[in-house]
Symmetry: D2
Subunit: 409 residues, 4 copies
């Protein structure tokens, strides 16, 4: 059992964390443009005694080597969203059209806080702590950028990786789960080719509007017929665009698909089925050219290692009061965190931290109005309760690290 | 100009024709089973002095060689339909479930009548008259059977072929047209292959029910998008059958299509498009086996030669009172007559003869109730007015023959 | 903890059970026609001292009152399937075209065996045991028939109901689960109305073939778009039939659907969506008459009570060697058992018993050929290994009853 | 028979017409912005002695009253297209992105030429000639604008209206036809309403992408099933647009349709069917709001009066060498000319004038490359041969007017 007495030092630093949080919230930056944010992170980490380096442009990594033992990598994401804030908070975004609407500001203030606890209580643990601040999570570009920039070679190889996310559930609660916790997400742009013609001369055309319609309907069968009932798979055609005028049959149509899965074999099957259907429909339509497929915004599956999750969950349940740690159900959202442990080939766990004032949340549950009354991530009204969210989240980041770095007592 | 004085002999023989008509109507026989009918035709033709032979089983052909000149082939079809008569006529069918519901009995009585006029007035014309009685028109099997049985070798080569059909328009009227007058008709059985499975396990199946549905919808585009607007083409899926139970996904689905065209290039295009669509949809569905295509009941285009039609029409307009010969519009029905001149490589014309009592027809036109009040061919209520239909039809058969065989005066 | 010493008597009666099993297997009877079967069950139950009555025609129920205590209802189903046996067993079906291909013969031999153990060891337990033999499970008609015949009034009210099913997994294994274990299954016949016409005159028709195709494709969206990703729902169109000839547009089309769900709110939603889609498509097609919906073969959800399952599972794990009791995953099949406890308003549990020889099963697992090599229920080759299936199944039936009736030791 | 001797004066004015043509071609103006064009037309007409007035903004009408007799209205359209010229002609458009790509410049030069012939040969005819120059034909707004501006009250009531169009057939040829010669054209914007959601949560959406796809496929049945085979109808979905991102299910989808018909009852039927299908599909999809329908760019049917066409055609065939006047087949394009005689309630005829150099055209016909080698109207390469197009077209405009205004000789 971990000795969490070092968490006693938390009280003295929370005000500093609150200010950090408000600072980041006021000054959001979009993915791969987090220049001010990265600079501030460097400063803070260095002040705590971490060895700091830039990896992947605006990625910032601090390493605190503290004797023999395991190496733990804790990750926070740092980018904001192109959302115009509408919370009315006195620390609201000062950047028009950009907002920390997904809580990454909270993740930064939390990981800095955990680093401070660890840095100031080096006698209580042994090993190496890596605080990794990743850019551009929202566009699935940041983890990839760090890996491409030599992440694996620039850091000691961790034994385990950790991350968390604030969620619109009651503040103070912590949710963990083994196995898939966030879906793999893949976007796919498909262009199909017909032959344009005047609207009054369909016989001179290969009509891509009809072709695209046929594809959209046929894609429904991947989930309805090809996926085992009860298995999670989503194939959404988020956009379908062809033509601009009523009386001109266009030459092409463009579809943009989003694919979500928890099972990588199924993910592969879904992709193969999409391509098979599109090619078959193009053949059926007499399309004069092969369709084009372009995958983008590809998020890996977030698939918690059972052993890591068990160890982390035990650390939480031993520490928090009964009822505060719940069994999280997989969410349909996606994350690129998995690419980081993936690059090292190490296990990881990712957990959820509630951020909604308890009274608000319980009232909404009682009224059955959670989805309408509680602003979720990406909403212009998303406003995590600083307390107790910040403290709970920081505790989880310290406890999970100690599960690997703590000295046995 | 033809000298139609030989038609004066018609009056004396009409009662004999009426009895023939009633006899055939009372004793209908289905295609390729017209044994009694054929025997009677042989007897009558022989009595008129025609050289008679059987060709194609129940096909009967009489040849009357009458000196130098052209050779004219006149054809009547002789089979009945699997329809239960409901006319209440005193000469109604005596065969349960079989009826001359398409007027082939009238065609026989007419051609025998024309043969009698020609046989008894040999001095008025010169050349050779062939009276051909063809079985199994309704199933597109009869003309083919006669051709397969050596039709071309067994007869002198005609210069022209003639045929007619009774239609639900005013009796006494005669309709002619150059070019396509009846559509090419092709039936096609398509079997598509999926993989069966229990209804609760769609992921183990390739669902042929969904595949067939997709094909049916996609086939609509052949007419709506691939055919020049205003050009005649029909692609009907008359039957679509798959599976028998709610909870078993079947292994195959079967579609039966009917295709109608006036233009042989378009016919070929339609067939190619059907096969392209079906193959493409099978590919899209991941079908484990190539689809099967089986064409059947294939009726050729009935495409009147412009010159023959002009010559025949002139013979009619010179003879009949003004207003009795009308410009026929192409009908969507089909015929296998064209296969006979096709075998010889000779031109032909095919015309329409009205058979509805004038009062009934005009009243229905005035009320806008033609389609509901006038029983059409194939109806259990189809009952041609014997007079003047029989006389008018016989006159057209003599006049058209004389257009080629008549001595100039 | 239950005292299972009464199971010692099992050895002495197994041969009798084997003979019963072979007898039932040789003499299968279809649902609601189980006359010989019911007569034999009556005889056997009476011989054991049960008070026997007929309920619902061929349903047989025996009650053994044995002092104070709980009332436990154990149910076995008794009907066979219209399958022609192809096992080559020396005790194969002697009735052409009828076979116990689902293992109900094993269920009967098991429940009679459990009854004999209880009857001969009355000192070891206290309360009332009801052995209920239900007809016509396969058609979802039998439980309903028993309820309609006054089941609730004719029996003492049970505290709990129990049932089991042999499954194509390794013999000797027992699978239990809380919550939904078998899906709700509903069949639905839909008739949509168009207007018939000759195949060459589509403009005179409302084409039901195209309408049905459109419905089939649109129904796919219920699972692909309207069901929460990962939630279990199946909408299968097992049969789609319209028309018989290529050149006749028929007047109606018939679809037969099978619906599977684990969640009753979702079941209701799926049914409402089907009806909405069909009505909308009929409106889109200009259908001249409202569609007809006829639900049939409706199986309730089999939804194990968490507490009953826990109690039964504990009884099993305390008794069987480690590894023999596994966590069953819900199967997509359906059962009408739930209607019986449903009529009483009592909780129940339903478990699985393996029936494939261990060697065969493990080899197939190793080769990845379970689905192709192991004949499943309803297969003409389905042949449960009598040993140890019969013994294991009988033990579960006794143990589960004792979990409620056993005297504490 | 008309006395065409006044056409002798044509030789002397053709160079003036050529210059006018090149002037208009160099200075194209878009619909309702034809300010320079209209000013020049006013000047020219006034110089010829016509009473000139503006009607409908940039519409210019000249009236030449010349004694007793009929009143003939001849119409030319004057607007250019948003096309960037690519002909390389030395008199090419000087306005970037605007081009007389439809030949309206030729129509203007022709009608001014005819006016000059008539104005200078007043002794040869009697009655009133109205030269009407209409703006904005391409957007179907110009004729409507003139009617709305009091056209009917501002002019003497004509007995007949005349118009012509240059076509990509051999220059020197003139095509006429009775009945429908250009289709009715209607554009329709349809907005269907779903409910937006994150791409991973389709169950929270009503997916308008799938709804629109379903509508597109179902619309095909209007031509394939609801229209009499061989009857002209076009339903083109020229654009279908919904959504912008892969992972966001949008709230609406927009379709733009173009409808073409020759028969006004069918036009009405097609529109009713479109609305029925869209409403039905919205109902099937559970759309939360009624769809929106907005018709625009509505072109009337151009339906030549049989008597006017006969009179005009006779005037042409008596004048031109044999073979130069051909029977035009209806074109699928549309025109708003019909709205002008429609406002007066008078009959009209509209004919075609070839404009492709004979050698080019015949070579393309021989090679079967007409559609690829001959630039058609609206092409950036469209370049009518000034000679003999201008002369032929002017002759037709004079001859057709004289058919009503000529003194009998």
């Amino acid at each position: 059992m971990v000795d969490p007495s070092l968490l006693d030092s938390l009280d003295g630093q929370l005000e500093w964390q609150r200010e950090l949080y408000k600072h980041f919230h006021r000054n959001p930056e979009l993915g791969l443009q987090e220049h001010q944010t990265a600079a501030r992170l460097e400063t803070e980490l260095a002040a705590l005694g971490y060895d700091v380096q830039r990896i992947g442009g605006t990625g910032v990594v601090g390493v605190l080597a503290n004797g023999e033992g395991s190496v733990v990598l804790a990750r926070a994401d740092i980018d904001a969203l192109p959302v115009t804030e509408d919370t009315g908070l006195d620390y609201a975004s000062t950047v028009e059209g950009v907002m920390h609407a997904c809580g990454h500001d909270m993740h930064m203030a939390t990981l800095l806080g955990a680093a401070k606890v660890l840095a100031e209580n080096r006698e209580a643990w042994s090993g190496t702590h890596i605080a990794l601040f990743q850019p551009a999570e929202e566009t699935a570009a940041g983890a990839r950028a760090m890996v491409a920039d030599g992440l694996v070679d620039k850091l000691p190889r961790p034994d385990v990786a950790l991350a968390q996310h604030v969620m619109p559930v009651e503040a103070g609660l912590v949710g963990t789960a083994a196995g898939p916790i966030l879906s793999a997400g893949d976007s796919l742009k498909i262009t199909v080719h017909g032959r344009g013609a005047h609207g009054s001369m369909p016989h001179n055309s290969v009509d891509p509007v009809v072709l695209a319609a046929s594809i959209v309907l046929k894609l429904q069968t991947i989930v309805s017929r090809e996926t085992m009932p009860g298995q999670f798979a989503v194939v959404t055609v988020g956009s379908s665009n062809a033509g601009t005028a009523a009386n001109i049959i266009p030459a092409t149509a463009e579809l943009r698909l989003n694919i979500r899965t928890y099972d990588l074999a199924l993910r592969k099957h879904v992709m193969a089925s999409i391509e098979r259907i599109v090619r078959g429909e193009c053949a059926a339509a007499g399309s004069p050219r092969e369709p084009d497929f372009e995958y983008y915004d590809q998020f890996p599956l977030t698939d918690n290692d059972a052993e890591v999750n068990a160890r982390v969950t035990t650390a939480f349940t031993e520490h928090f009061p009964a009822g505060q740690v719940y069994q999280a159900t997989p969410a349909t959202a996606s994350e690129d965190f998995g690419a980081i442990p993936g690059a090292f080939g190490i296990p990881y766990s990712y957990w959820m931290v509630g951020c909604v004032p308890a009274d608000d949340y319980r009232k909404a549950v009682a009224n059955g109005t959670v989805s309408s009354d509680i602003p979720a991530n990406h909403s212009p009204f998303f406003a995590p309760a600083i307390d107790p969210t910040l403290e709970t989240a920081t505790r989880t980041m310290v406890l999970a690290a100690l599960a690997y770095l703590g000295k046995s007592n």
